[in-house]
């Protein structure tokens, strides 16, 4: 339990670090941040607009006061309002975050469901036809950028074959079937990189586990090969796979931004990209903090899974 408390404490600490960095980023910009945000293509913004933006962002208050207000706002879930339309950032995120989460969850489940068994099978039949084909496919998938795969999926499945809609979103309550159809292509795109990594890692990890002494012990007990594989090889091989999965989550979240853009999936990336283009700083900060928080949360979950898989972590 002490271990768990420490781990959660660490996550909270990291969250504070993230918030502080994001806060400081605006002040680390050389020159006047308000002027910076308003300038586009070298044109000098007018003095009145700069003054107004300084007021809006509270830049004319002492920096510690700004920092305090920022952290207080965060603890209340108040992320400020958009510079573009005054809409509360937190409300915009609350509307869109579930859709992004759904996409991540679907993509991760898909990747794990395909790559874990495939990686195990490839390792058990090392050097066989399946192993070679799957390893080559994984290498190619790892090389295709996520937005390239998404765009090609649209080109082939939507434009040429007309099997699938090119993108969009329908709420589940309105039309569950269409919702899932629209979810499928983005989920595949999100899953691809993760699947390639999990496959490679599982394969390597199972190969390693197969040669361990305790596997020989299990065989010496006379267990069936299936049971040896399930309980003494795969179970142990999952431990390093989990670690890598946690490390991959940052890439996965970044890839989700691109996938949502490609497939018009109305998650967090639409307001994020709009805000980056419009230099809408409060909105960008809100979304970056939310997604980074999500990232830390997923990593915490990964550590818990890791601890559940490996009794040496918590009990020693």
């Amino acid at each position: 339990m002490w271990w768990l408390a420490k781990r959660i404490g660490l996550s909270l600490l990291l969250m504070w670090v993230v918030a502080t960095i994001v806060f400081l980023a605006l002040h680390m910009v050389p020159g006047d941040p308000a002027e910076m945000l308003l300038s586009t293509g070298g044109a000098m913004p007018d003095a009145y607009a700069i003054q107004e933006l300084r007021e809006r962002l509270g830049l004319n208050r002492p920096i510690l006061e700004q920092y305090g207000a920022f952290l207080m706002g965060l603890t209340r879930g108040d992320l400020g309002t958009s510079l573009v339309d005054d809409y509360p950032v937190a409300e915009e995120i609350a509307l869109r975050l579930p859709r992004t989460l759904e996409l991540i969850l679907a993509g991760t489940m898909l990747a794990v469901a395909i790559a874990l068994p495939a990686g195990t099978f490839a390792a058990v039949r090392q050097g066989g036809a399946f192993d070679r084909a799957a390893s080559a496919l994984a290498a190619v998938l790892q090389a295709v950028p996520v937005f390239v795969l998404g765009t090609l999926l649209i080109l082939v499945l939507a434009q040429w074959l007309r099997w699938m809609p090119a993108g969009g979103y329908t709420p589940f309550a309105e039309d569950p079937v269409r919702h899932l159809v629209l979810l499928s292509l983005p989920a595949i795109a999100v899953a691809k990189g993760l699947a390639a990594t999990i496959f490679r890692m599982t394969r390597a990890s199972v190969l390693d586990a197969l040669s361990r002494d305790h596997v020989r012990t299990a065989r010496a007990k006379g267990l069936t090969p299936q049971r040896v594989l399930r309980r003494h090889v795969v179970r142990n091989a999952l431990i390093p796979v989990t670690t890598v999965l946690g490390l991959q989550m940052g890439t996965l979240l970044g890839g989700t931004v691109l996938v949502e853009y490609v497939f018009n999936w109305p998650g967090l990336s639409t307001p994020l990209l709009r805000a980056v283009e419009a230099r809408d700083y409060p909105m960008v900060v809100g979304i970056v903090i939310t997604v980074s928080g999500l990232f830390l949360l997923i990593n915490l979950a990964m550590d818990l899974i890791y601890a559940a898989l490996d009794p040496r972590i918590t009990r020693s």
Binding site: V17, V29, T217, K221, G222, L223, R231, L253, L296
Partner: protein, 606 residues
């Protein structure tokens, strides 16, 4: 090395073309020509024109230039700054370490694309912003790698030596440490470049990276999306270029890593499982039938240089209720023989010849399914290292119960209860509580008791113990040996004890097989063999045992490697009595219940 050259050539070619772009006879990549919008081919434009009538081929090549420039620039900046920070942190420790490592951790709190977008919001899109963001993103990798390498380099003798000579810190870091961490840093550079190409294209695709009209693969894909129906090739060319570049870079990264690691060998060659040879025509076993009858057991391993034989023509008999010891130095083939009998040989090894009959049934020619039913049932094995031989992620009670349920149809609760009884039987105090423990929570001796409990779970007729006490303390060793002797007496099983300790043999075994370089050199009842050793090797082993205040005489040299065996007697090079006669392989001769493989045994024992 072949794996390195192919991707290196492709990456080199791409870099070369991109670098030479201004010299190539290409059209202006930004000149628009609205009359030729989206045409598939016009003279001078083999790949056609884009949505503004710009030449696609020219834009592809110039696009490579901007992608690679960003990638190499950011990787180079990150490499220089990151390595410097890591070096300083690792060398000075203290505050420098905290700043470098914690600084790296902070960057890792953010998903990379999000951090990039945050910076783009502040600074506006553009090549400069991209290089800044990407170099920040790759800093942690360099810091960590160089930090770890410096820490290990600091302790190395050559660094200590230069320090002792009074060299100044900057000089040591630059001249001595840096060249030695070049390998890992190079791996990190290749990873950073490959990853930077992906991120740059992604951000450009979102319209937040390279600013139009500068050509970039990400921007080209972005632009071609709108017209993908009329001009799919416009989309496919940059997709293909990007994918091939990244694929080649990834392959190069893997290859560079393998070379830099030097550990990543290609793995053992995969061997075809050749069907067992025809059953040998050995004479029927004489009555009474022994529990275990091994004859002519030969194990082969195919290695790059040919075939080696770690076990050759091994033979012995073991009756129920008796103990047979196999002794010999490391590398003599004792353990390999035991795993062959159990059917647990590593994949690279195979039984080339011989029989091993358990109660008259040949274990070596039996189908794997039948042998599996015997393993852990009628025959069981205890391994050398109880730490690695237990699965670290399962409770020990479960691991023992699993052995029970593999052979008997017992409900789980009953198997668990029986596991506790077994743990008690092997002398584990508080067995109910210990059954719920994980292996790492037990001492070495405890773990070996668990291994034994597991092995005797189904009352085996034959127990093979492979150096069961080498990993343990001396006092624990005696306790484990007592336990094995007691179990053998009470359960009436036959025990094969593999060991290199003659003291152990004298104490617990009735018969002994002495192995040297895969062969039996001497075999017989312990009292007879130890009382009157016929083979010089056995004598040497006995002489090496410390006895009272007599200095033990070590045997000069080591067991030769299996691919370097002498053509004649394998012990001859280390033998004090070797003569010309020893250059032909000696046969194993039977003498009054004892067997010896030495041409000179008659003269020497006289």
């Amino acid at each position: 090395m072949r794996r390195l050259w192919f991707p290196a050539a492709i990456v080199g070619l791409i870099v070369l073309i991109a670098a030479l772009a201004p010299l190539l006879p290409l059209m202006d990549p930004v000149r628009q020509d609205v009359a030729n919008r989206l045409v598939a081919y016009v003279p001078g434009s083999p790949m056609g024109r884009d949505e503004f009538g710009r030449d696609v081929m020219s834009r592809l090549i110039w696009g490579a230039r901007s992608s690679l420039a960003v990638a190499f620039a950011s990787a180079a900046i990150a490499a220089v700054i990151g390595t410097a920070l890591g070096l300083l942190g690792g060398w000075f420790r203290g505050l420098a370490e905290v700043l470098a490592i914690r600084g790296a951790d902070v960057v890792l709190c953010f998903p990379p694309v999000l951090l990039a977008l945050l910076v783009v919001t502040l600074l506006g899109p553009g090549t400069g912003t991209l290089i800044l963001v990407l170099s920040v993103l790759y800093l942690p990798g360099f810091i960590r790698v160089s930090f770890a390498e410096v820490l290990s380099a600091r302790g190395q003798d050559y660094v200590e030596a230069v320090r002792a000579l009074g060299a100044r810190t900057p000089r040591i870091l630059l001249r001595t440490v840096l060249p030695n961490i070049a390998g890992p840093v190079l791996v990190q550079v290749s990873l950073a470049v490959a990853s930077a190409v992906v991120l740059e294209s992604g951000l450009s695709f979102l319209g937040l990276g390279v600013v139009p009209p500068t050509p970039s693969w990400g921007l080209m894909i972005r632009g071609a999306r709108a017209t993908m129906e009329q001009a799919p090739m416009l989309l496919l060319w940059p997709c293909l270029a990007l994918t091939i570049t990244i694929l080649a870079m990834n392959l190069l990264c893997d290859a560079v890593r393998d070379v830099a690691d030097k550990r990543g060998g290609g793995g053992a060659p995969r061997l075809r499982l050749v069907d067992r040879l025809l059953p040998g025509l050995f004479p029927a076993p004489a009555a009474p039938q022994p529990l275990l009858d091994v004859q002519g057991l030969t194990v082969e391993i195919a290695v790059p240089g040919g075939i080696i034989r770690p076990v050759e023509d091994l033979g012995f008999r073991l009756d129920a209720g008796r103990t047979l010891a196999i002794v010999g130095e490391s590398g003599s083939g004792k353990s390999m023989a035991a795993t062959a009998i159990m059917g647990l040989l590593p994949p690279a090894a195979r039984v080339a010849a011989g029989v091993a009959r358990l109660d008259g049934e040949d274990l070596l020619r039996m189908p794997e399914a039948a042998r599996r039913k015997l393993r852990g049932g009628a025959m069981a094995m205890v391994f050398q290292d109880p730490m690695s031989s237990l699965n670290p992620v399962h409770r020990i009670g479960d691991q023992v119960a699993e052995a029970i349920r593999a052979h008997r149809d017992v409900p789980p609760a009953k198997a668990s209860a029986e596991a506790v009884t077994l743990l008690k039987r092997v002398g584990i105090a508080d067995p109910e509580r210990r059954a719920r423990a994980y292996p790492h929570e037990l001492s070495g001796g405890m773990r070996q008791r668990v291994m034994i409990a597991m092995a005797i779970a189904n009352k085996p007729r034959l127990l093979i113990a492979d150096e069961p006490t080498t990993a343990l303390d001396v006092t624990v060793q005696a306790a484990i040996l007592d336990l094995l002797a007691e179990l053998r007496r009470e359960e009436g099983m036959g025990l094969v004890l593999i060991t290199h300790s003659l003291g152990v043999v004298a104490e617990v075994a009735e018969d002994v097989v002495v192995m040297y370089a895969a062969q039996v050199v001497e075999r017989g009842p312990v009292a007879q063999v130890f009382g009157r050793p016929l083979h010089p090797y056995t004598r040497a082993l006995l002489a090496a045992v410390p006895d009272g205040d007599v200095e033990p005489e070590g045997i000069p040299g080591v067991v030769p490697r299996p691919d370097r065996w002498p053509p004649g007697c394998r012990f001859a090079p280390r033998c004090a009595f070797a003569t010309v006669a020893c250059e032909t392989p000696p046969p194993l001769e039977e003498v009054q219940g004892q067997a010896v493989r030495c041409v000179r045994w008659r003269e020497l024992s006289a």
